[in-house]
Symmetry: C2
Subunit: 277 residues, 2 copies
Amino acid sequence: MDMPTQRGSGSLLVAWQLAGKNVLIVGGGEIASQRVDSVLVTDAHITVLTPSSGLNPRTQRFIAEYPTQITHLDKKYDNNPAELGLLNYDMVLTALDDVELSRSICQYCRDHRIPVNAADIPPLCDFYFGSQIRDGPLQIMISTNGNGPKLANLVKRKIVQSLSGNEGAAIQKVGALRVILKERAPGVGGDNGKRRMAWMTKLCNEWDMDELGKLDDDSMIKLLNEGWEKNHVPPPHALGIKHSVEMTFYPMLVNSILPSLIGFAVGVASCVWLRKK
Amino acid sequence: MDMPTQRGSGSLLVAWQLAGKNVLIVGGGEIASQRVDSVLVTDAHITVLTPSSGLNPRTQRFIAEYPTQITHLDKKYDNNPAELGLLNYDMVLTALDDVELSRSICQYCRDHRIPVNAADIPPLCDFYFGSQIRDGPLQIMISTNGNGPKLANLVKRKIVQSLSGNEGAAIQKVGALRVILKERAPGVGGDNGKRRMAWMTKLCNEWDMDELGKLDDDSMIKLLNEGWEKNHVPPPHALGIKHSVEMTFYPMLVNSILPSLIGFAVGVASCVWLRKK
């Protein structure tokens, strides 16, 4: 039987939705502060359970800057899940030096189907974290499936270098257009749905991300009135959006024009030198 | 209060672990087949619940190729979760045209804390899927947080172009080295742990991914015996691993040398032409 070769030993990479949910983070060190940072973007309510003394400075700042979103329980976990109301949480993340305490929290969570991650104790985790990139609504995750974070970071660096930094803005504008289109031509599927999808596809094919990112409220309305309503996609310049010269000019300059100029100069210099000989 | 600007409306991107777990996929269309494809890499046991008639050909092939990993229940979901043993599943993914049926499955899952995703019904989902890239143990996910899949695919294309295709192999070799090192110098943390981490860091800094990917069993053992055991990191060529010239040569050729040669030729030709005038 011909088995495809890439199967197995992988994860299911998913974007977990936590808006309005309750997340418990147990621990006060560097990793716990990374967890707070990751969860803050999800609009979850976060409870940080750790004594104040020795609390990581970044976590302290988060607690101070987000008083409605983060609750700080200034105490240690005392192995009393009922008293803590552990069942009220939608997710638990532990980052403790005390492995046995982590294990005990994890076991309770698993018995009660509360998604849980314990830093440094992979077998107890429902899921792992990976390297993350964020640019507005664009989120990218890199996982090496337990083969180490260093190469995940090298891959992250390659990816960051390949992005212009405008992708988040482009995605946000496209999202806004989709919402307005749904108002102008409502309905799930059907003729309206097909027409919306076809027009959005054409737009994303004909404009580049940099141009999409430059849409503002006025040009978006103009794009819809002069484009969508007339069933075509105007070019960016028709809406006053210039193609970003610097995005292609400087790489072109360095990569092609400079070597050509240098080659030209060497060619002329060689010619002159040969004449003198 | 100075609020950082990037907060909110995001997801928690995680690598869900499903090895040995039970996943139920309800539906027989294109999306259900994508779900089977995604879950297969996790070593979960998959149950596909859908009538045979009209079953997507790709899902049919998966069922045939993975008879021990995939069970096909040839029937419709009849709104009887107890009879189906829904509580035995660790994750449920629905991809049905029947929105009410999806809703009913989702409600049951949420009441019983079974992680659930219903394609096309975002409010019912515990998590979303995104664009995926896989290269052996390397997995990358791109999420636009509900702002549309087209730009996610454009970002995916940029990322794929930025990768050499050797990253997966490099990560797999580094993972294997970590395992062998843990045998040679065991222990979590402590002096051995620090020494292992320092040496792996040096290796990942001094070798590039392409070189790491070329390690085989023999060169790995040689690397450890002549490197790790002597507390240094030998260069790749000392182990017979050549730097991949074609990885840098052809881009260099096209981007710099060719324009230089053309510039040189134009320089000489201009000189000769000016002499004749």
